[in-house]
């Protein structure tokens, strides 16, 4: 990155950080009139809500002095290490929050270990296929299913099966290492699926670069080639991986809630529920700092991985995109068909009528059983598809557009991306609820506001990488302006990969919406929204697992469909290598036979012949 790029990144970081600090500092004022009632109920339960009492409370909190004074009070306190006192308990906020942060960091460390093991397992087949000379991304069904597993559902299922039925591990609390295992699994598996998927895609792409073929011919060992391929692939995805790590904080809210782990996420949720704004402010600020540290570390790692090649324009050019497997349509067809059948069957039934027995078990007349109010689960899942998937699709499209636009600004996007990522959907949802109260629109806004960031980060990384390719660097000489290079050459080159990434996030976004519903921060009952269905069923998962099974299956099917479709996309606009027209014979000179076969074909021979 040039000196100007570093300066831009620094300025953008400072500006974005300042904007968020101002937002956080103004929370008490932004949340309007509602806090007084909360505090009245919490502290002075014996008093009447007369205007005089409310005004007195406002005076105590300093809310009557306007936004600037409220922010100035808070900011000067923060600089001296005083984060204020809790509106509910009246005790200083900071010591408790630091303790909670320690617990959360331990949990995240354990979850990260789980995630990395999972990612390694998912990458292994791709690496082996590449070394055998058949670079392939795999259909990704397993990874898609893993990314789709909602942390809170996984948490609840693990709790019921491992802790309650099998009695292998403790179900609640935080008193030793054995208490961390289940939360770490619930938190780490989905993240591991996503990391594994990103790295596998990058690894498959690197295997189409010509140097891999050259190394194979030169007799380098498979282990050495594998290491070099991983090294090269990681430079593109290390930023993503950092984002996934930061994103763990959001999942941690639900997981900590289910397992009663006294971490930062649970503290935040409690603070939002009781409108304890000072606690909320301290927690969000700590999360921001954590994210800034992760982002900085990722940038350093990426720089050292790319080395000078990233700055001097000597990155290898990938071969033509891989042609899809002949059976690529199989996974999407099956999952799509099953989902469609589920939705169509459900749409023909009534989602609101309580005509069955409470928690009635499944039968031919009632294929997915009834919920706690005696409503048909199949009908609610079918009708919920329109709500959940429709909203998730709209949010995904919005995120793709925002991510591309912001990512194309290069270094300027650094700050907003890092800051936005520090606020996973649940945290954003908590902030939105603190400002405007829970609603479906609020949930969509909260999820959109934070979900564009990974796409912007990916776009920015690809812009840097593609701009360093020789064919892009030669364009200015042909009179192509910088803006036109960006839009006409760089954008089309990165669009398939970023769109793929956006589709990969569709289930995640559906889940973020669902998670907000689950935590009571999104659509309100009796809407048949999938997240709400899961939330309603989760209390009965032990007695009536079907109440959760229906919506969970629907979400997993939808995510497998989205991801397997996006895997096929890379080959959509490319003919298979064997269908390329034969090159014209070269009658005039004795040059080498034209290299028409694709790069993949060439290494297949070299690598397989080893």
């Amino acid at each position: 990155m040039s000196g100007r790029g570093w300066a831009a990144a620094l300025i953008s970081r400072v500006a974005a950080f300042a904007a968020v600090v101002v937002l956080i500092g103004s929370l008490p004022w932004l949340s309007g009139n509602s806090p007084e009632y909360t505090i009245l109920r919490a502290r002075y339960a014996d008093r009447e809500a007369t205007p005089e009492v409310l005004a007195q409370i406002r005076g105590e909190l300093g809310l009557d002095r306007g936004p600037i004074a409220v922010f100035a009070d808070w900011a000067s306190g923060v600089f001296t290490g005083d984060f204020g006192t809790s509106w509910i308990s009246g005790r200083p906020v900071l010591p408790g929050m630091l303790e909670a942060l320690g617990v959360s960091l331990t949990l995240m460390g354990a979850a990260l270990t789980v995630a990395l093991c999972m990612a390694a397992l998912l990458c292994l087949p791709v690496l082996r296929a590449g070394l055998a000379g058949r670079p392939s991304r795999g259909s990704g069904a397993a990874a898609a299913a893993l990314t789709a597993l909602p942390e809170f559902l996984l948490a609840a299922v693990l709790l019921v099966i491992v802790a309650v039925w099998l009695n292998w591990l403790p179900p609640y609390g935080w008193r030793g290492i054995e208490y961390a295992i289940l939360p770490a699994l619930a938190l780490g598996l989905p993240g591991g699926g996503l990391i594994g998927r990103l790295v596998a895609t990058a690894v498959a792409g690197v295997f189409t670069e010509r140097w891999v073929h050259t190394w194979a011919v030169a007799g380098h060992s498979r282990a050495r080639i594998a290491l070099a391929v991983l090294h090269r692939a990681m430079s593109g995805v290390v930023g993503q991986v950092a984002l996934v790590v930061v994103g763990l904080t959001g999942g941690a809210v639900a997981v900590e809630e289910v397992f009663a782990v006294p971490g930062l996420g649970r503290a935040l949720l409690g603070a939002a529920a009781s409108q304890d704004i000072p606690t909320l402010q301290a927690g969000v600020l700590l999360l921001l700092l954590l994210a800034a540290v992760c982002g900085g570390a990722a940038a350093l790692i990426r720089r050292s991985l790319l080395g000078p090649a990233g700055r001097s324009g000597h990155l290898p050019v990938p071969g033509p995109p891989l042609s899809p497997r002949r059976t690529w349509w199989l996974v999407p067809a099956i999952s799509g068909g099953a989902l469609l059948a589920l939705i169509v069957a459900g749409l023909m039934r009534d989602p609101y009528g309580s005509v069955y027995g409470r928690l009635q078990s499944p039968s031919w007349a009632l294929p997915l059983g009834a919920d706690a109010s005696g409503r048909d689960v199949l009908a609610r899942v079918g009708h919920g598809a329109v709500d959940t998937l429709g909203l998730a699709l709209a949010v995904t499209a919005a995120c793709l557009v925002i991510g591309l636009i912001i990512g194309l600004t290069g270094a300027w996007s650094t700050g907003p991306v890092e800051v936005t990522n520090a606020a996973p959907p649940i945290i954003a949802g908590i902030l939105v609820v603190a400002i405007s109260g829970p609603s479906a629109a609020g949930a969509a806004v909260a999820v959109t506001a934070v979900s564009w960031a990974p796409l912007a980060a990916h776009t920015a990384a690809l812009v840097a990488e593609i701009s360093a390719r020789p064919y892009v660097r030669s364009l200015p000489q042909l009179g192509v302006s910088r803006a036109r290079i960006l839009v006409g050459t760089v954008l089309p080159a990165l669009l398939p990969e970023v769109t793929r990434h956006a589709l990969l996030r569709l289930p995640g976004i559906a889940l973020a919406l669902a998670a907000l519903g689950f935590l009571g921060l999104g659509p309100q009952p009796p809407a048949p929204e999938w997240g709400l269905l899961l939330a309603e069923g989760i209390g009965y998962v032990e007695r009536a697992p079907w109440t959760v099974l229906g919506p969970a299956c629907a979400l997993v099917l939808a995510s497998v469909l989205a991801v397997s479709l996006s895997s096929a996309d890379g080959g959509r606009n490319l003919r298979p290598a064997s269908d390329l027209p034969a090159p014209d014979a070269e009658p005039d000179d004795g040059q080498k036979p034209p290299r028409v076969t694709d790069g993949a074909g060439q290494h297949s021979e070299a690598l397989a012949g080893r």
Partner: protein
């Protein structure tokens, strides 16, 4: 644009150019106090061992890299500002070192040749201009719809040349343009460049580590080492009476047929 009226000969000059790179552990002066002039109608060679700073000098002349000191003059005016760069880029084209990777893998040959015509707003029938340029480099039919991975190394090199020639430049800079080619093809490309120079009066800066190619093509040459011009003169002079040790080494490295 600048083709209309007949102005004086196009020229590209570097005056007292220096460019230094800093890496973590050391400071490398890639180009140091170099004066160079590429004129329409002349053919200049730039020879030097690998890593001597030739490609950096080229980037400075093309305006893609800014010098730390000194300046680049196009037709006597400093090469800064959009308008000046645009005019210079139309009149000064360049053939890259690695043609295969300098072509966009996603676009057809035709699209990539039309691009500069559109960008520089050149009038006329673009299709026939593209055809002419391809014919000039010996690619007759069936190449318009191909993409980079459907071309051999030699074909890609010639497409890159055609792309440089399609805007009818007055000066051509070639960076190791023949070093990746086999002998018959190398001679073919050298002949083509020689013909462009002799027939159309195209100015040439031919950068190479291969003194034989320079001798075949250029009247004068600079010998470049460690970022400095160490010797300068008519090519035959350098070839037969090398004065500087670097030149000596380069001449000694030419393989000879046994007598």
């Amino acid at each position: 644009m600048s083709v209309g009226a007949e102005p004086e000969a196009t020229s590209l000059r570097g005056i007292d150019l220096s460019r230094t790179f800093r890496s973590r552990s050391r400071v490398v002066a890639a180009v140091e106090d170099v004066d160079i002039a590429v004129l329409e109608g002349e053919s200049l060679g730039l020879v030097g061992p690998s890593g001597s700073g030739k490609s950096t000098l080229l980037s400075l002349l093309l305006g893609t890299e800014r010098p730390d000191r000194g300046e680049v003059l196009f037709n006597g005016a400093p090469l800064v500002g959009r308008q000046q760069l645009r005019e210079a880029r139309q009149a000064v084209q360049f053939i890259p070192q690695d043609p295969a990777s300098s072509l966009d893998p996603r676009r057809t040959v035709e699209h990539q040749l039309r691009e500069p015509l559109r960008r520089f707003g050149i009038e006329g029938d673009h299709k026939s201009l593209v055809q002419d340029a391809l014919e000039q480099v010996g690619l007759v039919t069936g190449y318009l719809g191909r993409r980079a991975h459907e071309l051999s190394g030699g074909q890609a090199q010639r497409v890159a040349m055609a792309r440089a020639l399609v805007t009818r430049p007055r000066i051509l800079l070639a960076d190791e343009a023949v070093s990746g080619l086999d002998l018959p093809l190398r001679n073919q490309v050298l002949d083509l460049l020689k013909q462009l120079h002799a027939r159309d009066g195209l100015g040439l800066l031919f950068i190479s580590h291969d003194l034989t190619a320079i001798h075949q093509l250029c009247q004068r040459a600079l010998v470049f080492d460690h970022g400095r011009v160490v010797e300068e003169g008519p090519t035959s002079e350098l070839f037969y009476r090398p004065a500087h040790p670097t030149t000596q080494e380069l001449v000694d490295a030419i393989p000879l047929l046994p007598a």
